[in-house]
Structure formats: C-alpha cells, structure tokens
Symmetry: C2
Subunit: 318 residues, 2 copies
Amino acid sequence: MAHQSKRTTLGEIGEHAAIRVIREECPSRNNGDDAAVLNQPAPNTRPVVATDMLVEDRHFRFDWSTPEQVGIKAISQNFADIEAMGARPTAALLALSAPKDTDVEVLRGIARGIQQALEPFSAQLIGGDITGGEKMVLAVTALGQLGGNRKELRLDAARPGQKVVANGRIGWSAAGLALLRKFEEIPEDLRPLVEHHCAPRIETNRGVIARATGATAMTDNSDGLIQDLRLIAERSGVGIDLKSHAIFPDELLCRAGKLTGIDPWEFVLSGGEDHTFLATTSKETPTGFRDIGRVNKNTGLVTVDGLPPRHEAGWVSF
Amino acid sequence: MAHQSKRTTLGEIGEHAAIRVIREECPSRNNGDDAAVLNQPAPNTRPVVATDMLVEDRHFRFDWSTPEQVGIKAISQNFADIEAMGARPTAALLALSAPKDTDVEVLRGIARGIQQALEPFSAQLIGGDITGGEKMVLAVTALGQLGGNRKELRLDAARPGQKVVANGRIGWSAAGLALLRKFEEIPEDLRPLVEHHCAPRIETNRGVIARATGATAMTDNSDGLIQDLRLIAERSGVGIDLKSHAIFPDELLCRAGKLTGIDPWEFVLSGGEDHTFLATTSKETPTGFRDIGRVNKNTGLVTVDGLPPRHEAGWVSF
C-alpha cells in the first residue's frame, strides 16, 4: 500500500482510554460513574427495557459491515424491541467484549454508528462496560418510556377480526445477507439490500403511534416474518392470514433471488432482522403502516391467502 | 464413571426451550415480550442502570466455579454498581452467548445462581437474550431506584476532612484466585477465600444506608482497592490516606500469602472483585461500615499511613 496509517490497538491504549473514545463519540452527562442515574421520569410513565447481543461472525462480520454499521444495527434492533411495546426509546448501554488487538478506529466507528442511530430518537448512550475477549461481542441494553395508562403492545393481545399492519421493508435483510454470502462485489443497484442487512434503520415513533391509535399487539420481525407472527398467534390464541399481494417480493428482492438462486418468497417469509414493525389493530391503519393481513380464529396458525406458507423457517440461535 | 446421566445441550433444545429453563428458575411476570415493562416507579424516584460483562476464561472458569457461582457473581457485581450510587437494585436482564454444546444443566445452574443472588434484594430477572457463540459471555444489566432528592453517591463527591469507610471483605477475592491458580485441592480452612472469589456476596442496602446517613462519594472495589480509591481521588480532586491497621491482612489472607508466595498486602491493595463498598462521609460511620482512612488535600494521591502504597496495580481489561 502506498500509505498506511499507524494502527493503535485497544490493548495498547487500555480500558480507560477506550472508554474515553466511546464517550467522545457518544457524549452524555449520565455516563461515567458506577451506574447511570436517569432523570426522574415524566409523571404517569413506566420504564421499558430490553437487551440484545450481537456476536462477531454470527450476527455481523467486519468484512461485510463497517464498524459504523455494526453500531447502527446494535441500536436499531434494541430500539425496535422498545418501540414494539408502544414505548419511546430514550437511552442505551453498551457492554463490549473485544480482542486486545482491535484497532481503536474500529471502536470509534462502532461508537459513531451508535450515536448516529441514537440521534433520531434524541436518545443517549448512558453507560457500559468494556473488556477483553476472543471475539467481539456487543450487548446493548435499551431503555424507554411508556406513557399513559393504555396497555402496552403485547404479543398476546391480537384479537380475531383485527387487521395486521406493517411498517418497514420485509425480506431485504435476508436478501442482502444472501448476496454477501454469494458475491465479493455487490451490483450497485442491489446495495440497498446489503445496507439494510448491515445497518437496518427503524422509523422513530412507530410503536408510540400504533399504540396511540388503538393497536393492541406488536412485534418487530427479527427472526422471520412467519415465525414472529406465529409467536403472536400462539400467545394470543388466534390465527393470522397474510395477503400475498401485500407482501409480494419487490423488484430488488426478485433480482437478488435470481442472482442467488433463492426463491424471493423465502426472503420475505423466513428472513428476519428487518425489524419491520408488525401490529394488529381494530382501528384505522396507523400512519406509516400498511395492511398485510387479518387476524382470525385458527389458533396458532399463520397462513398466506389461506394456505400454509411456502417457507416458514427462521433464525436459529444455536 | 459408575453412572453418567444423559447430557442435553442448548443446541439440541434450541433457543425457546433454553429461555424456558431460565424462566423456570427466575420467574417474573415482566419477562417474555419484546421488552419488559416495569411498574410505574414510586413518586420522587429516579431510575439507575448499569451493565457489566463476564467472559468465560477471563472473569470465570468452569473448572473453578460452579454455574450457580457464575450466576451469583454476575448479579453481585452489577448490583454493587447500583448500590454504589446509593440506590436500591430492583431488577436485572441477562444477555447470554453460549456454545451450542453447553449442557442445559449449566444454563439451569447459572439461572439458579442468578435467582439466589436476586432474592435478598426482592429483585427479578425481567428479560434477556440468548444466542450461540464460541465462549460463554454473560452481560447483565442491573436496574435500580434512587429515592428522594438527596444527591446520588458520586465518584467526584469526596471532600477533604471526610472519613473513608468500608463494608465487606478486602482482598479475599484476589487471595482466592491466587489459591485456585496454584492448587488443585484447596485446604478446607481457606475455602472461604475461594468462595468469595467465585461467588462474591454483597450486603443489601449498604448504598441506601450510606446515602441516607450522609455519605457523599461511593464505589465498590472491583478493580483493586488503590485503583478504585484513586478514581475517587482524581475525580473529586482530593487525596485519600488509608490506615494500615484498618486494612491489615487477616489470618486467612496471611495463610494464603504464605502458601502462594504472594505478599498478602498485594491481595488487599491490588486485588479487585471483592465488591467491598467504599464510601466517604463527614457524618457518623454508617451501620455495617468501618473506618479505614481519611480524605485529604493531596489531589489524586492514595497513600497508606502517609506513604505510597506497597502495591497499586489492579485489574487490566486487555
């Protein structure tokens, strides 16, 4: 290489300097003591909290994702869980295990991605932990606030007769992953699929709006559309029927399917990690959502146009 | 072996059954949705939150610790951070990465240890995440409540003239670790040191009581006595002088020192992971605490009987 900048590693700078790097990128007055003390919550709100872990080479790979993208993904998937209760994400913590030869710039990039994903929510990184380890592991905890007395959006609260509504892409993440697995160079026009896989973005306030307008059940598709909806179906004791025309693979998914030799319906039905919001409601479709199906009485069953789905596998943790 | 029970692994039972095992051992009505919704906090309280990661073979080893002990340690070290703000721990989340050949009974043991450590605090495990990985990594997030308007106990709030007070053993964890490193069989009378290393226990409400009785600064010794106090000294712009007679190595530490060839003062001054509560106060020594030194004006300096400490290294993360 004509020019190579000097690499500094986490092992060289040590824990305290590493924490300083994160705090430079993610400033917060709550951070820096044994624990973070938050402001007194607004009256009539309840705290909401979730945690999700990302393991290098299982949930992300640095030859596919930039450090910034890893940071964005870590926040998006956690904040999606907060929104899926109908709550507003307000803060995050990062526990990070990283090999000592990790480049400080990788850490800085992750922190920058975290900050980028936090900003639309006006949320802050308020604390964390950093330690050595063989593979990089990020555990993000997301905190949020659920305002008012209305019930939170629960997995067990879908009712027969309701509409099933969705906000966000379905299947793009799985298609992006399939492309990364197959090609070194991704065709320019298919880059959005890869971007969606590496750094999924969620629209702010979708959970809050869905709850305010009368939705009762909600989740985000993290494990696969059919699998995530089946969890709602089972917990609620209902069935869900999707309309194929409403979830039909779009042009990009079809192109990715052709290039990878994978049925694009597999991206849609089995692909997870889109963090699409899926809700059920008896009221009007909330702003930003579209109708994709109906809740019925076929306890625990998820169908497409009344038939068993062509694909229904999903994310396997082990 | 005369008898060997059939081993079942996480890979065999899968994520959902693994979560069921944890929930059997750690029951909570808040757990089980995308995120946990907590009860509305008591009026005039602020939420407090901290996270800490334990990496297999760095923070614990299964040939040294039982799964129960790992669970206890994970909660104790996180709850110590909550108490160190003067707050009351109320709940925890567990994000766990584990190899797929992990015995289900190991998971059950960890969950049982977590529950055991939560119970004295009337706290609950309210959520988490479980995924595969090469080494076991536990990231626990602890939540707590800080009641009333009095300031939280901060690292930067020590003032010259105050007493330095401590609750809990100092040096036992490091001595236990030194014994584990040196011996296959630990002499019976030294087992308490090893137990203290593998499964540290913290006394409930020490932070709350210290704050209520006028303490201003507090931390737990996690990285080493001198190192942790130096952080208070630096942040507060003060010095701290310890009285050697108040932290003199006890009989067990001296025996462990003799057997391992390590100066027992090293256990006391450099050993971390005891999670001893260290506070400063101008008022009476809080119940359960003892005087170990004085705050002075020697900015950033920690001394013992006015002299530089014999040992001052501490935990190194990388």
